[in-house]
Amino acid sequence: MSMRPRDKRMSLEDVVGRLESGMTIGIGGWGSRRKPMALVRAILRSDLTDLTIVSWGGPDVGLLARAGKIRKLVYAFVSLDSIPLEPHFQAARQNGTIPEVVELDEGMFQTGLRAAAQRLPFLPTRAGLGSDVLANNPWLRTIESPYEGPDGMPETLVAMPALELDAALLHLNRADMHGNATYLGPDPYFDDLFAMAADKTYVSVEQVLDTAGLTAGPSPVPVQRLLLSRMLVDGVVQAPAGAHFTSCTPDYERDERFQRAYAQAAKDDAAWAAFEARFLAGDEAAYQAAVKEFGDE
Protein backbone atom coordinates (compact mmCIF):
# COMPACT_ATOMS: atom_id res chain seq x y z
CA MET A 1 0.00 0.00 0.00
CA SER A 2 1.31 3.42 -0.96
CA MET A 3 2.37 5.75 1.82
CA ARG A 4 1.57 8.73 -0.34
CA PRO A 5 -1.67 10.70 -0.54
CA ARG A 6 -3.87 10.00 -3.50
CA ASP A 7 -2.96 10.93 -7.06
CA LYS A 8 -5.57 13.47 -8.23
CA ARG A 9 -4.27 14.10 -11.72
CA MET A 10 -6.96 14.17 -14.35
CA SER A 11 -7.73 15.67 -17.73
CA LEU A 12 -9.77 18.75 -18.58
CA GLU A 13 -12.48 16.39 -19.83
CA ASP A 14 -12.40 14.43 -16.56
CA VAL A 15 -13.16 17.64 -14.68
CA VAL A 16 -16.06 18.52 -16.96
CA GLY A 17 -17.30 14.96 -16.55
CA ARG A 18 -17.67 15.58 -12.84
CA LEU A 19 -19.72 18.73 -13.34
CA GLU A 20 -23.45 18.69 -13.99
CA SER A 21 -25.90 21.01 -15.65
CA GLY A 22 -27.59 23.32 -13.16
CA MET A 23 -24.56 23.46 -10.85
CA THR A 24 -23.28 26.59 -9.15
CA ILE A 25 -19.68 27.02 -10.24
CA GLY A 26 -17.20 29.53 -8.85
CA ILE A 27 -14.41 30.62 -11.18
CA GLY A 28 -11.16 31.89 -9.67
CA GLY A 29 -8.80 34.59 -10.89
CA TRP A 30 -9.92 38.20 -11.36
CA GLY A 31 -11.03 40.04 -14.50
CA SER A 32 -8.59 39.02 -17.19
CA ARG A 33 -6.05 37.60 -14.74
CA ARG A 34 -5.17 33.95 -14.05
CA LYS A 35 -8.53 32.62 -15.18
CA PRO A 36 -8.90 28.83 -15.65
CA MET A 37 -9.53 29.40 -19.34
CA ALA A 38 -8.67 25.85 -20.47
CA LEU A 39 -11.34 24.54 -18.09
CA VAL A 40 -13.78 27.16 -19.39
CA ARG A 41 -13.00 26.06 -22.96
CA ALA A 42 -13.65 22.47 -21.91
CA ILE A 43 -17.08 23.54 -20.61
CA LEU A 44 -17.75 25.24 -23.97
CA ARG A 45 -17.09 21.89 -25.68
CA SER A 46 -19.45 20.04 -23.33
CA ASP A 47 -23.23 19.90 -23.19
CA LEU A 48 -23.29 21.41 -19.68
CA THR A 49 -25.96 24.08 -19.41
CA ASP A 50 -28.12 26.10 -16.98
CA LEU A 51 -25.06 26.98 -14.92
CA THR A 52 -24.93 29.49 -12.10
CA ILE A 53 -21.58 31.22 -12.48
CA VAL A 54 -19.98 33.07 -9.55
CA SER A 55 -17.03 35.14 -10.72
CA TRP A 56 -15.11 38.38 -10.49
CA GLY A 57 -15.73 38.24 -14.17
CA GLY A 58 -13.52 38.41 -17.21
CA PRO A 59 -13.49 36.50 -20.50
CA ASP A 60 -14.60 33.38 -18.59
CA VAL A 61 -17.98 35.00 -18.13
CA GLY A 62 -17.91 36.44 -21.65
CA LEU A 63 -17.32 33.06 -23.32
CA LEU A 64 -19.87 31.20 -21.19
CA ALA A 65 -22.46 33.94 -21.72
CA ARG A 66 -21.91 33.93 -25.47
CA ALA A 67 -22.32 30.16 -25.54
CA GLY A 68 -25.62 30.40 -23.64
CA LYS A 69 -24.31 28.33 -20.74
CA ILE A 70 -25.32 30.74 -17.98
CA ARG A 71 -28.74 30.66 -16.36
CA LYS A 72 -27.70 32.86 -13.46
CA LEU A 73 -24.65 35.10 -13.05
CA VAL A 74 -23.29 36.38 -9.74
CA TYR A 75 -20.69 39.11 -10.27
CA ALA A 76 -19.45 42.48 -9.07
CA PHE A 77 -17.93 43.44 -12.41
CA VAL A 78 -17.05 41.83 -15.72
CA SER A 79 -13.97 43.33 -17.39
CA LEU A 80 -11.05 42.51 -19.63
CA ASP A 81 -8.89 44.97 -17.59
CA SER A 82 -7.01 46.54 -20.51
CA ILE A 83 -10.36 46.63 -22.34
CA PRO A 84 -12.75 47.90 -19.68
CA LEU A 85 -15.98 46.35 -20.96
CA GLU A 86 -16.34 42.63 -21.72
CA PRO A 87 -18.18 42.69 -25.08
CA HIS A 88 -20.00 39.33 -24.80
CA PHE A 89 -21.18 40.08 -21.27
CA GLN A 90 -22.25 43.53 -22.39
CA ALA A 91 -24.22 42.13 -25.31
CA ALA A 92 -25.77 39.42 -23.16
CA ARG A 93 -26.97 41.98 -20.63
CA GLN A 94 -28.30 44.34 -23.29
CA ASN A 95 -30.07 41.51 -25.11
CA GLY A 96 -31.38 40.05 -21.87
CA THR A 97 -29.98 36.60 -22.58
CA ILE A 98 -28.80 35.85 -19.03
CA PRO A 99 -32.06 34.95 -17.29
CA GLU A 100 -30.97 35.96 -13.79
CA VAL A 101 -28.24 38.34 -12.66
CA VAL A 102 -27.00 39.15 -9.17
CA GLU A 103 -24.77 42.22 -9.25
CA LEU A 104 -22.88 42.76 -6.00
CA ASP A 105 -20.26 45.12 -4.64
CA GLU A 106 -16.76 43.57 -4.91
CA GLY A 107 -16.35 43.44 -1.14
CA MET A 108 -19.82 41.92 -0.64
CA PHE A 109 -18.80 39.20 -3.06
CA GLN A 110 -15.74 38.42 -0.94
CA THR A 111 -17.90 38.50 2.21
CA GLY A 112 -20.29 35.97 0.61
CA LEU A 113 -17.41 33.64 -0.22
CA ARG A 114 -16.04 34.05 3.32
CA ALA A 115 -19.40 33.13 4.80
CA ALA A 116 -19.53 29.98 2.67
CA ALA A 117 -15.90 29.19 3.51
CA GLN A 118 -16.77 29.41 7.22
CA ARG A 119 -20.03 27.46 6.78
CA LEU A 120 -21.99 30.46 8.07
CA PRO A 121 -25.39 31.45 6.64
CA PHE A 122 -24.30 35.07 6.26
CA LEU A 123 -21.74 37.64 7.38
CA PRO A 124 -22.45 41.29 8.14
CA THR A 125 -20.96 43.98 5.95
CA ARG A 126 -21.34 47.71 5.47
CA ALA A 127 -20.90 47.43 1.70
CA GLY A 128 -24.14 47.66 -0.23
CA LEU A 129 -26.02 49.88 2.23
CA GLY A 130 -27.82 52.71 0.45
CA SER A 131 -26.92 51.43 -3.01
CA ASP A 132 -29.07 49.85 -5.71
CA VAL A 133 -27.32 46.52 -5.07
CA LEU A 134 -29.96 46.06 -2.38
CA ALA A 135 -32.76 47.49 -4.55
CA ASN A 136 -31.91 45.22 -7.48
CA ASN A 137 -31.57 42.13 -5.25
CA PRO A 138 -34.59 42.52 -2.97
CA TRP A 139 -33.95 39.08 -1.45
CA LEU A 140 -30.84 40.50 0.25
CA ARG A 141 -31.63 41.25 3.89
CA THR A 142 -30.15 43.52 6.51
CA ILE A 143 -29.45 42.61 10.12
CA GLU A 144 -29.45 44.73 13.25
CA SER A 145 -26.46 44.38 15.54
CA PRO A 146 -27.31 43.02 19.00
CA TYR A 147 -24.79 45.53 20.37
CA GLU A 148 -25.09 49.28 20.68
CA GLY A 149 -22.95 51.39 18.40
CA PRO A 150 -20.85 54.38 19.49
CA ASP A 151 -23.95 56.61 19.44
CA GLY A 152 -25.92 54.19 21.59
CA MET A 153 -27.86 52.88 18.60
CA PRO A 154 -27.33 49.44 17.08
CA GLU A 155 -26.06 49.48 13.51
CA THR A 156 -28.08 47.84 10.75
CA LEU A 157 -25.77 46.08 8.27
CA VAL A 158 -26.14 44.00 5.13
CA ALA A 159 -26.47 40.28 5.95
CA MET A 160 -24.49 38.98 2.98
CA PRO A 161 -25.61 35.38 2.39
CA ALA A 162 -23.04 32.64 1.88
CA LEU A 163 -22.07 32.14 -1.77
CA GLU A 164 -22.04 28.35 -1.60
CA LEU A 165 -20.52 26.63 -4.62
CA ASP A 166 -20.96 23.12 -5.97
CA ALA A 167 -17.58 23.40 -7.64
CA ALA A 168 -14.66 25.81 -7.93
CA LEU A 169 -12.45 26.01 -11.02
CA LEU A 170 -9.02 27.58 -10.50
CA HIS A 171 -5.76 28.01 -12.36
CA LEU A 172 -2.46 28.32 -10.49
CA ASN A 173 1.18 28.16 -11.47
CA ARG A 174 2.31 24.87 -9.91
CA ALA A 175 0.83 21.91 -8.06
CA ASP A 176 1.81 18.42 -7.05
CA MET A 177 -0.33 15.43 -7.99
CA HIS A 178 -2.05 15.57 -4.62
CA GLY A 179 -3.43 19.10 -4.98
CA ASN A 180 -0.95 21.23 -3.04
CA ALA A 181 -0.59 24.31 -5.22
CA THR A 182 1.32 27.58 -5.43
CA TYR A 183 0.73 30.91 -7.11
CA LEU A 184 3.96 32.59 -8.25
CA GLY A 185 2.62 35.99 -9.33
CA PRO A 186 2.03 39.07 -7.19
CA ASP A 187 -1.59 38.35 -6.23
CA PRO A 188 -3.31 35.17 -4.99
CA TYR A 189 -6.66 36.77 -5.92
CA PHE A 190 -9.31 34.81 -3.99
CA ASP A 191 -8.64 31.29 -5.17
CA ASP A 192 -8.30 29.82 -1.67
CA LEU A 193 -11.67 31.33 -0.70
CA PHE A 194 -13.33 29.81 -3.78
CA ALA A 195 -11.85 26.43 -2.81
CA MET A 196 -13.18 26.68 0.73
CA ALA A 197 -16.61 27.85 -0.46
CA ALA A 198 -16.96 24.87 -2.83
CA ASP A 199 -17.92 21.23 -2.36
CA LYS A 200 -15.40 20.23 -5.02
CA THR A 201 -12.36 22.10 -6.29
CA TYR A 202 -10.53 21.47 -9.53
CA VAL A 203 -7.28 23.25 -10.18
CA SER A 204 -5.42 23.44 -13.46
CA VAL A 205 -1.75 24.42 -13.35
CA GLU A 206 1.03 25.31 -15.71
CA GLN A 207 3.07 22.41 -14.42
CA VAL A 208 2.66 19.47 -12.07
CA LEU A 209 5.81 18.94 -9.99
CA ASP A 210 6.78 16.50 -7.31
CA THR A 211 5.95 17.86 -3.85
CA ALA A 212 9.50 18.93 -2.99
CA GLY A 213 9.61 20.84 -6.26
CA LEU A 214 6.90 23.22 -5.07
CA THR A 215 9.26 25.00 -2.71
CA ALA A 216 12.69 23.97 -4.03
CA GLY A 217 13.82 24.88 -7.48
CA PRO A 218 16.48 27.20 -8.82
CA SER A 219 15.28 29.99 -6.51
CA PRO A 220 13.37 28.69 -3.50
CA VAL A 221 9.64 29.50 -3.43
CA PRO A 222 8.52 30.96 -0.06
CA VAL A 223 6.08 28.69 1.75
CA GLN A 224 3.58 31.58 1.92
CA ARG A 225 2.95 30.96 -1.76
CA LEU A 226 1.47 27.52 -1.06
CA LEU A 227 -2.06 28.87 -1.38
CA LEU A 228 -3.96 25.58 -1.65
CA SER A 229 -3.61 22.53 0.56
CA ARG A 230 -4.55 19.18 -0.91
CA MET A 231 -7.37 19.02 1.68
CA LEU A 232 -9.18 21.55 -0.49
CA VAL A 233 -8.49 20.05 -3.90
CA ASP A 234 -10.27 17.21 -5.70
CA GLY A 235 -8.59 17.25 -9.08
CA VAL A 236 -5.35 18.51 -10.64
CA VAL A 237 -4.96 19.14 -14.36
CA GLN A 238 -1.68 19.95 -16.02
CA ALA A 239 -2.66 22.60 -18.55
CA PRO A 240 0.30 24.61 -19.86
CA ALA A 241 -0.83 28.06 -21.01
CA GLY A 242 -4.14 27.09 -19.42
CA ALA A 243 -4.93 30.67 -18.42
CA HIS A 244 -4.40 32.01 -21.94
CA PHE A 245 -5.30 34.73 -22.97
CA THR A 246 -5.47 36.05 -19.42
CA SER A 247 -2.29 36.71 -17.45
CA CYS A 248 -0.48 34.02 -15.46
CA THR A 249 2.45 35.97 -14.05
CA PRO A 250 5.36 35.11 -14.02
CA ASP A 251 4.82 32.25 -16.49
CA TYR A 252 3.32 34.67 -19.00
CA GLU A 253 1.56 38.01 -19.19
CA ARG A 254 -1.82 38.66 -20.77
CA ASP A 255 -1.86 38.09 -24.53
CA GLU A 256 -3.07 41.61 -25.32
CA ARG A 257 -3.02 41.13 -29.07
CA PHE A 258 -5.14 38.00 -28.84
CA GLN A 259 -7.48 39.65 -26.35
CA ARG A 260 -8.00 42.55 -28.77
CA ALA A 261 -8.80 40.07 -31.53
CA TYR A 262 -11.26 38.32 -29.20
CA ALA A 263 -12.98 41.59 -28.31
CA GLN A 264 -13.05 42.70 -31.92
CA ALA A 265 -14.56 39.40 -33.07
CA ALA A 266 -17.30 39.75 -30.46
CA LYS A 267 -18.72 42.73 -32.26
CA ASP A 268 -20.56 40.88 -35.02
CA ASP A 269 -21.89 37.39 -35.58
CA ALA A 270 -19.85 36.61 -38.70
CA ALA A 271 -16.58 37.67 -37.09
CA TRP A 272 -17.43 35.63 -34.01
CA ALA A 273 -18.26 32.56 -36.08
CA ALA A 274 -14.86 32.87 -37.75
CA PHE A 275 -13.13 33.25 -34.37
CA GLU A 276 -14.94 30.20 -33.02
CA ALA A 277 -14.09 28.14 -36.09
CA ARG A 278 -10.45 29.07 -35.84
CA PHE A 279 -9.89 28.80 -32.08
CA LEU A 280 -12.75 27.05 -30.31
CA ALA A 281 -13.86 24.24 -32.63
CA GLY A 282 -11.27 21.70 -31.50
CA ASP A 283 -9.73 20.49 -28.25
CA GLU A 284 -7.26 22.33 -26.01
CA ALA A 285 -4.26 21.19 -28.06
CA ALA A 286 -5.92 22.54 -31.21
CA TYR A 287 -6.60 25.84 -29.42
CA GLN A 288 -2.98 26.19 -28.32
CA ALA A 289 -1.77 25.35 -31.83
CA ALA A 290 -4.10 27.95 -33.37
CA VAL A 291 -2.93 30.50 -30.80
CA LYS A 292 0.69 29.79 -31.69
CA GLU A 293 -0.09 30.25 -35.36
CA PHE A 294 -1.87 33.53 -34.55
CA GLY A 295 1.16 34.66 -32.52
CA ASP A 296 3.51 33.91 -35.41
CA GLU A 297 1.48 35.95 -37.90
Binding site: R93, E106, G107, A127, D132
Partner: protein, 251 residues
Protein backbone atom coordinates in the same frame (compact mmCIF):
# COMPACT_ATOMS: atom_id res chain seq x y z
CA UNK B 1 2.77 80.50 -17.10
CA UNK B 2 1.09 81.47 -20.34
CA UNK B 3 1.29 78.00 -21.85
CA UNK B 4 -0.57 76.44 -18.93
CA UNK B 5 -2.96 73.73 -20.13
CA UNK B 6 -6.32 72.64 -18.75
CA UNK B 7 -5.02 69.17 -17.94
CA UNK B 8 -2.33 70.73 -15.73
CA UNK B 9 -4.92 72.78 -13.84
CA UNK B 10 -6.94 69.60 -13.41
CA UNK B 11 -3.92 67.64 -12.14
CA UNK B 12 -3.29 70.21 -9.41
CA UNK B 13 -7.00 70.35 -8.49
CA UNK B 14 -7.03 66.57 -8.17
CA UNK B 15 -3.82 66.63 -6.11
CA UNK B 16 -5.55 69.05 -3.73
CA UNK B 17 -8.17 66.38 -3.00
CA UNK B 18 -5.55 64.32 -1.14
CA UNK B 19 -3.60 67.23 0.38
CA UNK B 20 -5.15 67.04 3.86
CA UNK B 21 -5.52 63.25 4.10
CA UNK B 22 -2.36 62.38 6.02
CA UNK B 23 -1.06 58.81 5.95
CA UNK B 24 -3.79 57.01 4.03
CA UNK B 25 -4.03 54.97 0.83
CA UNK B 26 -4.77 57.11 -2.23
CA UNK B 27 -6.73 55.00 -4.72
CA UNK B 28 -7.00 56.86 -8.02
CA UNK B 29 -9.00 55.22 -10.82
CA UNK B 30 -7.83 56.39 -14.22
CA UNK B 31 -5.13 58.53 -15.72
CA UNK B 32 -5.61 62.08 -14.38
CA UNK B 33 -6.47 60.86 -10.87
CA UNK B 34 -3.25 58.81 -10.90
CA UNK B 35 -1.27 61.86 -11.97
CA UNK B 36 -2.96 63.94 -9.27
CA UNK B 37 -2.30 61.42 -6.50
CA UNK B 38 1.35 61.11 -7.46
CA UNK B 39 1.62 64.91 -7.59
CA UNK B 40 0.08 65.20 -4.11
CA UNK B 41 2.62 62.71 -2.76
CA UNK B 42 5.47 64.76 -4.22
CA UNK B 43 4.16 68.08 -2.90
CA UNK B 44 1.42 68.61 -0.32
CA UNK B 45 1.28 65.14 1.27
CA UNK B 46 4.48 63.04 1.31
CA UNK B 47 2.85 60.66 3.80
CA UNK B 48 0.34 59.51 1.18
CA UNK B 49 0.46 55.79 0.39
CA UNK B 50 0.30 54.96 -3.31
CA UNK B 51 0.21 51.70 -5.24
CA UNK B 52 1.02 50.46 -8.73
CA UNK B 53 -2.73 49.93 -9.21
CA UNK B 54 -2.12 46.18 -9.10
CA UNK B 55 -0.58 44.61 -6.05
CA UNK B 56 2.23 46.63 -4.42
CA UNK B 57 2.69 49.91 -2.55
CA UNK B 58 5.35 52.04 -4.23
CA UNK B 59 7.78 54.03 -2.10
CA UNK B 60 8.08 56.84 -4.66
CA UNK B 61 5.76 57.92 -7.48
CA UNK B 62 6.87 56.69 -10.90
CA UNK B 63 5.94 58.49 -14.13
CA UNK B 64 2.53 57.78 -15.67
CA UNK B 65 2.52 54.53 -17.58
CA UNK B 66 5.21 53.09 -15.35
CA UNK B 67 5.03 51.19 -12.08
CA UNK B 68 8.70 50.71 -11.37
CA UNK B 69 10.61 51.70 -8.27
CA UNK B 70 11.10 50.59 -4.69
CA UNK B 71 8.25 48.56 -3.24
CA UNK B 72 7.20 49.38 0.33
CA UNK B 73 4.30 46.99 0.78
CA UNK B 74 1.99 44.33 -0.56
CA UNK B 75 -1.59 45.21 -1.50
CA UNK B 76 -3.23 42.35 -3.42
CA UNK B 77 -6.96 42.79 -4.05
CA UNK B 78 -7.94 40.87 -0.91
CA UNK B 79 -6.00 43.38 1.20
CA UNK B 80 -7.57 46.29 -0.65
CA UNK B 81 -10.93 45.11 0.73
CA UNK B 82 -9.39 44.96 4.19
CA UNK B 83 -8.20 48.57 3.83
CA UNK B 84 -11.64 49.61 2.53
CA UNK B 85 -13.35 48.10 5.58
CA UNK B 86 -10.63 49.42 7.90
CA UNK B 87 -10.98 52.96 6.55
CA UNK B 88 -7.61 54.66 5.82
CA UNK B 89 -8.29 55.26 2.15
CA UNK B 90 -9.48 58.00 -0.18
CA UNK B 91 -10.66 56.74 -3.55
CA UNK B 92 -11.24 58.84 -6.64
CA UNK B 93 -13.55 56.96 -8.99
CA UNK B 94 -14.99 57.78 -12.37
CA UNK B 95 -18.70 58.45 -12.82
CA UNK B 96 -20.71 57.67 -15.92
CA UNK B 97 -23.57 59.48 -14.21
CA UNK B 98 -23.70 61.59 -11.07
CA UNK B 99 -26.73 63.37 -9.70
CA UNK B 100 -27.49 66.36 -7.49
CA UNK B 101 -27.71 64.07 -4.46
CA UNK B 102 -24.18 62.79 -5.07
CA UNK B 103 -25.30 59.34 -6.21
CA UNK B 104 -22.96 57.88 -8.83
CA UNK B 105 -23.47 55.22 -11.50
CA UNK B 106 -20.83 53.04 -13.15
CA UNK B 107 -23.05 49.96 -13.45
CA UNK B 108 -25.27 50.35 -16.52
CA UNK B 109 -27.42 52.87 -18.39
CA UNK B 110 -31.14 52.21 -18.56
CA UNK B 111 -33.19 49.72 -16.56
CA UNK B 112 -31.12 47.24 -14.56
CA UNK B 113 -33.16 44.26 -15.80
CA UNK B 114 -32.14 44.94 -19.39
CA UNK B 115 -29.81 47.92 -19.70
CA UNK B 116 -29.51 49.98 -22.86
CA UNK B 117 -25.78 50.00 -22.22
CA UNK B 118 -24.06 47.65 -19.82
CA UNK B 119 -21.04 49.23 -18.13
CA UNK B 120 -18.65 47.82 -15.54
CA UNK B 121 -21.09 46.70 -12.88
CA UNK B 122 -21.07 48.11 -9.35
CA UNK B 123 -17.39 47.22 -8.81
CA UNK B 124 -16.38 48.52 -5.36
CA UNK B 125 -18.45 51.71 -5.46
CA UNK B 126 -21.09 50.72 -2.86
CA UNK B 127 -18.45 49.63 -0.33
CA UNK B 128 -16.11 52.51 -1.07
CA UNK B 129 -18.71 55.19 -0.46
CA UNK B 130 -19.92 53.87 2.91
CA UNK B 131 -16.41 53.11 4.18
CA UNK B 132 -13.93 55.64 2.79
CA UNK B 133 -13.56 59.22 1.76
CA UNK B 134 -14.63 59.31 -1.90
CA UNK B 135 -14.07 61.78 -4.74
CA UNK B 136 -14.98 61.61 -8.41
CA UNK B 137 -13.26 62.54 -11.66
CA UNK B 138 -15.32 63.48 -14.71
CA UNK B 139 -13.20 64.15 -17.81
CA UNK B 140 -16.10 65.60 -19.84
CA UNK B 141 -18.49 67.71 -17.78
CA UNK B 142 -21.84 67.39 -19.57
CA UNK B 143 -25.56 66.99 -19.08
CA UNK B 144 -25.12 63.30 -19.93
CA UNK B 145 -22.99 62.82 -16.82
CA UNK B 146 -24.59 65.35 -14.46
CA UNK B 147 -28.18 64.11 -14.47
CA UNK B 148 -31.22 64.73 -12.30
CA UNK B 149 -31.27 61.07 -11.18
CA UNK B 150 -28.73 58.35 -11.95
CA UNK B 151 -30.15 55.17 -13.51
CA UNK B 152 -28.44 52.85 -11.00
CA UNK B 153 -26.94 53.91 -7.67
CA UNK B 154 -23.47 52.38 -7.47
CA UNK B 155 -21.82 55.07 -5.33
CA UNK B 156 -24.04 56.24 -2.47
CA UNK B 157 -24.97 59.92 -1.99
CA UNK B 158 -25.67 61.53 1.36
CA UNK B 159 -29.45 61.27 1.36
CA UNK B 160 -29.35 57.60 0.41
CA UNK B 161 -26.77 56.91 3.13
CA UNK B 162 -28.93 58.68 5.72
CA UNK B 163 -31.97 56.68 4.67
CA UNK B 164 -29.94 53.49 5.22
CA UNK B 165 -29.06 54.45 8.80
CA UNK B 166 -26.02 55.15 10.93
CA UNK B 167 -24.08 52.12 9.64
CA UNK B 168 -24.08 53.81 6.23
CA UNK B 169 -23.37 57.36 7.45
CA UNK B 170 -20.69 56.66 10.09
CA UNK B 171 -17.85 56.64 7.58
CA UNK B 172 -19.62 58.15 4.56
CA UNK B 173 -17.55 61.13 3.37
CA UNK B 174 -17.95 62.41 -0.17
CA UNK B 175 -15.22 64.96 -0.77
CA UNK B 176 -14.93 66.52 -4.23
CA UNK B 177 -15.86 66.17 -7.87
CA UNK B 178 -13.20 67.43 -10.26
CA UNK B 179 -14.16 67.84 -13.93
CA UNK B 180 -12.55 69.34 -17.01
CA UNK B 181 -14.47 72.54 -16.23
CA UNK B 182 -14.72 72.94 -12.49
CA UNK B 183 -14.35 71.71 -8.93
CA UNK B 184 -17.43 70.80 -6.90
CA UNK B 185 -17.96 69.63 -3.35
CA UNK B 186 -20.90 68.13 -1.44
CA UNK B 187 -21.59 71.03 0.91
CA UNK B 188 -24.87 71.99 -0.77
CA UNK B 189 -28.16 71.66 1.13
CA UNK B 190 -28.41 68.16 2.62
CA UNK B 191 -25.04 67.08 1.25
CA UNK B 192 -25.84 67.87 -2.38
CA UNK B 193 -23.40 68.94 -5.08
CA UNK B 194 -22.14 72.50 -5.04
CA UNK B 195 -19.88 74.37 -7.43
CA UNK B 196 -16.85 75.83 -5.65
CA UNK B 197 -14.50 76.88 -8.47
CA UNK B 198 -14.28 77.09 -12.24
CA UNK B 199 -11.03 76.48 -14.08
CA UNK B 200 -9.25 79.48 -15.64
CA UNK B 201 -11.12 80.43 -18.84
CA UNK B 202 -14.39 78.79 -17.78
CA UNK B 203 -17.50 80.77 -16.75
CA UNK B 204 -19.97 79.68 -14.11
CA UNK B 205 -22.59 79.80 -16.84
CA UNK B 206 -20.58 77.27 -18.91
CA UNK B 207 -20.76 74.86 -15.99
CA UNK B 208 -24.48 75.45 -15.44
CA UNK B 209 -25.15 74.76 -19.12
CA UNK B 210 -23.17 71.52 -18.95
CA UNK B 211 -25.05 70.35 -15.84
CA UNK B 212 -28.39 68.58 -16.16
CA UNK B 213 -29.88 70.01 -12.96
CA UNK B 214 -30.09 73.37 -11.24
CA UNK B 215 -26.62 73.61 -9.73
CA UNK B 216 -26.09 75.12 -6.31
CA UNK B 217 -23.06 77.42 -6.14
CA UNK B 218 -20.87 78.47 -3.25
CA UNK B 219 -21.35 82.07 -2.03
CA UNK B 220 -18.26 82.99 -3.98
CA UNK B 221 -17.29 80.71 -6.80
CA UNK B 222 -13.55 81.11 -7.19
CA UNK B 223 -11.19 80.34 -10.02
CA UNK B 224 -9.38 77.01 -9.62
CA UNK B 225 -5.80 77.78 -8.65
CA UNK B 226 -3.01 77.49 -11.16
CA UNK B 227 -0.32 74.90 -10.48
CA UNK B 228 2.84 76.26 -8.90
CA UNK B 229 6.09 76.29 -10.86
CA UNK B 230 7.24 73.29 -8.84
CA UNK B 231 4.05 71.40 -9.66
CA UNK B 232 4.37 72.25 -13.34
CA UNK B 233 7.95 71.02 -13.37
CA UNK B 234 6.89 67.78 -11.66
CA UNK B 235 3.97 67.25 -14.04
CA UNK B 236 5.90 68.07 -17.20
CA UNK B 237 9.34 66.68 -16.50
CA UNK B 238 8.92 63.96 -13.88
CA UNK B 239 5.43 62.47 -13.75
CA UNK B 240 4.10 62.86 -17.29
CA UNK B 241 6.84 63.73 -19.78
CA UNK B 242 4.88 61.92 -22.52
CA UNK B 243 1.89 64.26 -22.00
CA UNK B 244 -0.53 61.35 -21.57
CA UNK B 245 -2.71 63.80 -19.60
CA UNK B 246 -3.70 65.51 -22.84
CA UNK B 247 -5.34 62.33 -24.11
CA UNK B 248 -7.90 62.67 -21.35
CA UNK B 249 -8.16 66.47 -21.27
CA UNK B 250 -7.12 67.95 -24.64
CA UNK B 251 -5.64 71.42 -24.52
Amino acid sequence: MSDLTRSEVVAAAIADCWAQDGEIFASPMGLLPTLGARLAKMTSNPDLVISDGESVFLAAPPPLGSSTGAVEGWIPFRKVFDVVANGPRHVMMGATQIDREGNQNISAIGPFAQPRRQLLGSRGAPGNTVNNRTSYWVPQHSTRVFVEHVDIVSGVGRARAEAAGTAATRFHALHRVVTDLAVLDFQGAGGTLRLISVHPGVDVEDVRTATGFDLETADEVGTTREPTDTELMLIREVLDPRRLREKEVPS
